[in-house]
Symmetry: C2
Subunit: 385 residues, 2 copies
């Protein structure tokens, strides 16, 4: 089976982008990816769009984007799995190339989260939870992750300081990422003193909505070697798994079962273990989510996620640097774009082009993109020859 390589990456600034429609954001990322890889648009055979449609005034985004990119009559379609929609688009494109259906495919994750009023957005987000059994009782994302945090604290002695330390790290790196929403450092004291959202989570434990887009251009092995030369980065492991949507059916609230299973698949496919990962992007929608990810991905043992951040093991120089682009926390979270943004950062790291955020010797990278509260998780492993 042929390998699939990434030959171009593009990324808009994440933030409030009232200057651009969603198709304009998509184009901005797509054009940057063409330029990055010196890719002729004539070789793009299809696009796959990762987005959550209902946050936009425009419906059925894929069509309007394909037209704006001047790619008619080539195929396009949209994938949706909440906050992991971008990774589902990558998986779809990866499969299309492995199947021999397409040689080169552009994946675009894009999202405008600020077109609707805040109250509308909150109402929509609540309905990502289980509408039949749970969301009627007022469950929201901060509430779910607060439950996870409480339980993690109870079972393993994780503290509010540990949570704050994740935020401090991610702001530290976000301050060094010109595409990030929050490009400023914070202190543990500031994070701990910020307003409660869903106790024990405070404002600084939560990522922020943002508008933005990211693009990766995938190609089969032959095309990737021809187009990308030494710069090609290989998507060698692709795991995808699901957990029950209703938390009522979970037997453990201190981890995400789909993340553990997706990681197992991706490690096996790529022929690596957690110890081989030199740099990772994980889904830190809330700080507790990053701590659970350390454990779910095997970067540390179960229950030791708090110590892992306290010892700075997830900083550059630690055992597994995590979210050195700022993560969702500091970069912002345009939901459909996030999984593709993670892939962009991995490519940048593996090409040794990440500047002051570069992890030395990064030749194996991992992305971990969770949808909802873990009803979906996609884990990808990237390698550089």
């Amino acid at each position: 089976m042929s390998r699939v390589g990434i030959v171009g990456i593009g990324h808009t600034i994440f933030g409030r982008r009232s200057d651009a429609t969603v198709q304009e954001l998509a184009f901005e990322a797509y054009r940057a990816a063409l330029e990055d890889g010196d890719v002729d648009p004539a070789v793009i055979e299809a696009t796959v769009i990762g987005s959550v449609p209902e946050y936009h005034k425009q419906r059925s985004l894929a069509g309007v984007i394909q037209e704006y990119l001047n790619l008619n009559p080539k195929p396009t379609w949209l994938t949706e799995v909440a906050c992991a929609s971008g990774s589902a688009a990558i998986r779809t494109a990866w499969m299309s190339i492995k199947a021999g259906v397409h040689d080169v495919v552009a994946v675009i994750g894009c999202q405008k989260m600020t077109e609707l009023e805040t109250a509308e957005i909150l109402a929509l987000m609540g309905r990502v939870g289980d509408v039949q059994w749970e969301s009627g009782f007022g469950t929201t994302f901060p509430g779910y992750y607060a439950m996870f945090a409480r339980r993690h604290m109870h079972e393993f002695g994780t503290t509010a300081e540990h949570l704050a330390q994740v935020a401090v790290k991610n702001h530290h790196y976000g301050a060094r990422n010109s595409k990030a929403l929050f490009q400023k450092e914070i202190t543990t004291a500031k994070a701990l003193a910020s307003d409660p959202v869903a106790t024990p989570l405070t404002v600084y434990d939560c990522c922020a909505n943002a508008d933005g887009a990211a693009c990766v251009i995938l190609a089969n092995e032959r095309a990737a070697r021809k187009m990308g030369g030494d710069r090609a980065v290989w998507l060698d492991g692709n795991g995808c798994a699901t957990s029950s949507m209703s938390v009522l059916r979970r037997t453990d609230l201190t981890g995400i079962p789909s993340a553990q299973e997706a990681a197992r698949q991706a490690y096996e496919m790529a022929g690596i273990t957690a110890a081989d990962v030199k740099v990772a992007e994980v889904h830190d929608c809330f700080t507790i989510a990053e701590i659970m990810a350390y454990e779910d991905l095997g970067f540390c043992a179960k229950g030791e996620g708090g110590a892992f951040i306290a010892e700075k093991q997830s900083y550059i120089g630690g055992s597994t640097p995590v979210n050195v682009d700022g993560g969702l926390k500091a970069k912002g979270h345009p939901v459909g774009a996030t999984g593709v943004s993670m892939a962009c950062e991995m490519v940048r790291q593996l090409r040794n082009e990440a500047g002051e955020r570069q992890v030395p010797g990064a030749d194996v990278g991992l992305t971990h993109n969770v949808g909802g509260i873990g009803q979906y998780c996609f884990v990808n492993v990237f390698k550089k020859d």
Copy 2:
């Protein structure tokens, strides 16, 4: 490259289904498909859901469906391309099998169109058109297709009687389909006398919203031969193309460019021509759409679609029987389910199990599923050994 076979089909009744949630509808179709193919659910490796999410109170449907089907932790994700969402799900699953990523995948198209108020649905539908340039001027689906009809009449002499004859045919077959929304015959006179919707289209020129779900289980060649035996039907051609979303950029309003291109791809992949097609399901969201499809697919020459129905060439016994299950017109159009419903009918026909609607000697079948006003089109070719 291995062939992909269909080994099980399931289909709910289409209509107002206030008795069931969307996940219950999905389960109803899925269970029927397992029973139809005598498939052990343990062999299902993944699901792909075709749906337009925003018509449901529940968001991120794929997760809640996967849980309800008891398929966690297996992968799932949703595909969206307006009314062609079900066909995008089929294409995704087909690619995953050709890629060797999965051996057996269940595709479920599902939609509840009646959960929201009619005014909300109409507002959402309007926004499937180009929001930036067109829908602000009041464009709607009936309006777009009325323009197509006007132009077809002007250029080729197509008449209101031709349109009505399509409706009469599809109601004729819908009356013989126990899953159809409208199981009653109509007359040309009744159709012509019905209320105008967007002149020249009347009520009987328009398909109706409905709730419903359909499921097809796809398998790689080895598994399909083992599981399906002689009953397996092969998905040998899969075409997908796009046209501009804004009708402003179309140079011809008498056909759907994406349909012509998708058909070309599918015929080439399957090694057939239009003349080989023994039975077809086409996207008759409006009667004019079926007439354009005859031409776009090559069942007759350009401009002769009106004569094609007048001569009953699309009836059983004619040169290419079309929509002999009632089509969207009589069966109803639960948008995400429609493409999968079409595939179910093709399998039924090619297995020679369609009862009084059976097309004699049907060994090559075609489905044509349009999204929006043709910003997407998927054409599939099915064969029976």
